[in-house]
Symmetry: C2
Subunit: 466 residues, 2 copies
């Protein structure tokens, strides 16, 4: 009202910093002994694993097959892939400290290894390990290996400037005529994923053939046209960075804008005509000359002739670096995780530490964790969740305040009356949507439930990635 003093313009709080939140929520730490390599604490590892699991589930629909590949490869591989020529500054060298155990080259020198900065050469080796037919394509490999790149030490910071990181890496080996469809599907995958994270809008940027490029002009034009058609089909706005592509192929970048207007490049889709050639990758196809141009024919004479064709390789990452995306998510949610990602999903707070109350609290915890079965039976693969019990003797109000500060999604209180009734008193206000009314929030506050009902309630959230 007019007699009240005018509201003070509260100063805008500083934007959230994932390093502070990471410490506060015990997500990760770093060590002097391994600068640039994040150490994920249990809470951070939970989020990390859930992100990876989310992708693994989606891979079933998108036809990606996970592989597990070596961490070190001989320098000869990095010479073949071109990394030694173009990327040596960023790579670590691995040697044996014991000459007697070192691999020795033909020239009699000790063999050196490169610590992998990328998975692509390894995936090329897998592609080349079998004879491939056009019927086998597209082949899509996924890999969550740790990667190392030697960033200068001054630049290292939190989860964004690191030396060790994980990509949700994928490589698609496809026929030239499959490029458009693969790009279209990848853009769909990206849209779905960023929708689940509620990360807001992003823009797509196509980088086209640079002045210095390798390969056939025809291949480039055909590929760029396929990319443009796929971008158009995505229904999302996109722009062109003319001449900004890599020398080995055009690419699409996904650029997110955060709440402060800062832009973050996350996902990428990079076409590559060169690496398959460096590794002599090929598949057998009818009418190979047409096949190479992405064309088909019904001419039986042409179809009768089979020949080798180099596949097109598409490097793609949906999250980009898992570490960097985690940093983005930490800042985006500002400590308020959606339930499925929350490293602290539920806490059971006891009113006192009498035996029946503590026992009921522990029983509830076991039900929520799916470990209430016979100890002689293994824990079922359908179990999930991160549930704690606070049975300390501190005052209830203090325990609840602490649980809220720690960001638990569900706070369940247990007193002597609950034991008799076989229930728990649940506060799930954190489940309310951001725009919920006070009325709606109140409904989520004093829910009387059985442990099994709460489990169901929680499972629904997790199953919906909510």
């Amino acid at each position: 009202c007019s007699s009240c003093p005018p509201e003070q313009a509260t100063p805008k709080p500083p934007p959230p910093d994932h390093r502070d939140l990471g410490t506060q929520q015990e997500l990760f730490t770093t060590s002097f002994y391994s600068p640039g390599s994040a150490i994920f604490l249990p809470n951070g590892a939970r989020i990390f694993n859930r992100l990876v699991d989310f992708l693994r589930k989606q891979y079933v629909r998108h036809g990606f097959q996970e592989v597990i590949t070596p961490t070190i490869y001989k320098k000869a591989l990095w010479a073949k892939s071109g990394h030694l020529e173009n990327y040596a500054e960023d790579m670590y060298t691995v040697t044996s400290t014991s000459p007697s155990r070192a691999e020795v080259t033909e020239a009699g020198e000790e063999d050196e290894y490169g610590l992998k900065p990328m998975n692509c050469p390894g995936h090329c080796l897998i592609f080349a390990s079998q004879l491939r037919s056009y019927r086998d394509l597209p082949i899509r490999y996924a890999d969550f290996s740790p990667l190392h790149r030697n960033e200068i030490s001054g630049a290292l910071s939190g989860l964004t400037r690191v030396r060790r990181f994980h990509q949700d890496d994928g490589h698609i080996f496809c026929r030239p005529l499959q490029i458009e469809e693969e790009i279209r599907k990848t853009l769909e995958f990206i849209r779905l994923t960023y929708g689940v994270f509620r990360l807001g809008s992003y823009r797509l940027a196509l980088s086209t053939r640079p002045e210095r490029y390798m390969g056939d002009l025809e291949d480039w034009e055909q590929a760029e046209n396929a990319l443009k058609r796929a971008l158009d089909a995505s229904g999302q706005p996109w722009t062109i960075n003319e001449g900004d592509g890599a020398f080995y192929g055009p690419k699409i970048d996904i650029v997110l804008k955060d709440s402060d207007g800062k832009e973050h490049q996350t996902a990428t889709i990079q076409l590559d005509f060169q690496l398959p050639k460096r590794f002599n990758l090929e598949y057998m196809a009818p009418a190979p000359l047409l096949e190479k141009r992405g064309e088909t024919t019904t001419d039986p004479e042409l179809l009768a002739h089979y020949g080798p064709v180099a596949p097109v390789m598409i490097h793609r990452a949906v999250l980009g670096s898992v570490e960097r995306l985690m940093a983005l998510l930490i800042e985006h949610y500002n400590g308020k995780w959606p339930f499925w990602l929350n490293p602290r999903q539920a806490v059971i707070v006891t009113v006192n530490d009498t035996e029946p109350v503590v026992k009921w609290a522990q029983h509830t915890r076991n039900v929520l964790l799916g470990i209430d079965s016979d100890v002689d039976a293994p824990v079922s693969p359908t179990n999930f969740g991160a549930v704690d019990v606070d049975e300390s003797t501190r005052p209830l109000s203090k325990k609840i305040m602490e649980a809220k500060a720690k960001g638990y999604g569900v706070i369940a209180v247990i007193g002597l009356r609950d034991v008799a009734a076989g229930t728990i008193m649940v506060d799930a206000t954190s489940f309310a949507p951001a725009d919920a009314s006070e009325e709606e929030k109140k409904k989520l506050k004093g829910l009387k439930m059985t442990p099994e009902e709460l489990l169901d309630f929680m499972k629904k959230k997790v199953t919906a990635y909510a």
Copy 2:
């Protein structure tokens, strides 16, 4: 009957070799570019990930918290841990190829890293990163990081003699008086796990204090007694290897005997009094002198005094090396995987390639994979399974024969009549127990089911780790 020729004594087939089966079932391969580092192909990666997932589920009950730790640490860490002194021959050195980007020591030299052969020092860093109270213990960290040990190249073979491997590694930091309980629980965990794999019996061997040992005699005796009590409580036979322990603590080995009578050392439980001291690990406890001896008191005067105590560290792995255990399982099952581990769980074979049949086959596949929902919705975390479709035009009998040879757990046939009836014809004879009668097997052969019924049937198997 007596007029038939006597049955020929068939020569005993050679014992299964995991390298041959690994190639045949497309589980893994190796490359000249990374000797001793297995490359897990999609089928092998499925098994690998299911083993890891199995453990992750059990960790909830056993109170292990997963962490994700660096791959390389500065040499200073390996000096601190004692590895540089005792283990340098087995380790790889990591250096920067770009002097300008190398970390520099205080003395102005370039910093060198060690590629980790073990996770223990990393876990000590995590323990030391916070102040710990006796109330926080036991703290149990789990880690599935890749590890590297420089085995001589002549010894490398398949998944058993490798340079890169993964342990289902765990470290327990506990109070001296918790040793017995932790060992008891670990033995229980091991028993449950080997029961699930049906790997047969194993023996437990306790290795006691060697002549040259470090630490207090009293600590050793107290710990060995705790181990013996836990071994007795396990109800399993155990033996003693007198004086065979490491200089830093006694240990328990789990030795499996395979069908050929060959023994395999898999799980280990290693007590360690030294590493916590090297890392100055401590927790605060009342009556620290008694605490150190694993004793308690009710004397309020003693309890009033708090002081630091070094935790006991227990290194333990249930599978041991995941690679080595996979090799064992491959040979043990001889290609006939239990359904939950089978990389080829189900195949849908079409009678012909007419449109309605192919469509129904693809619908069935989508139901079994849990991807029959709206493409705009993410694939649910409860989905599972590895399902293929063979819609080629080859003769049905040939397709079925091939599916059997490939080891599919479920073979579902679809013809035009099935489309109309909304069913599939399922052969699940591989689900029959080894000692099933012909009658029982026959029952599993011609099952007419809806896709949803088959999904249920499969889910039950996976949920029971059967």
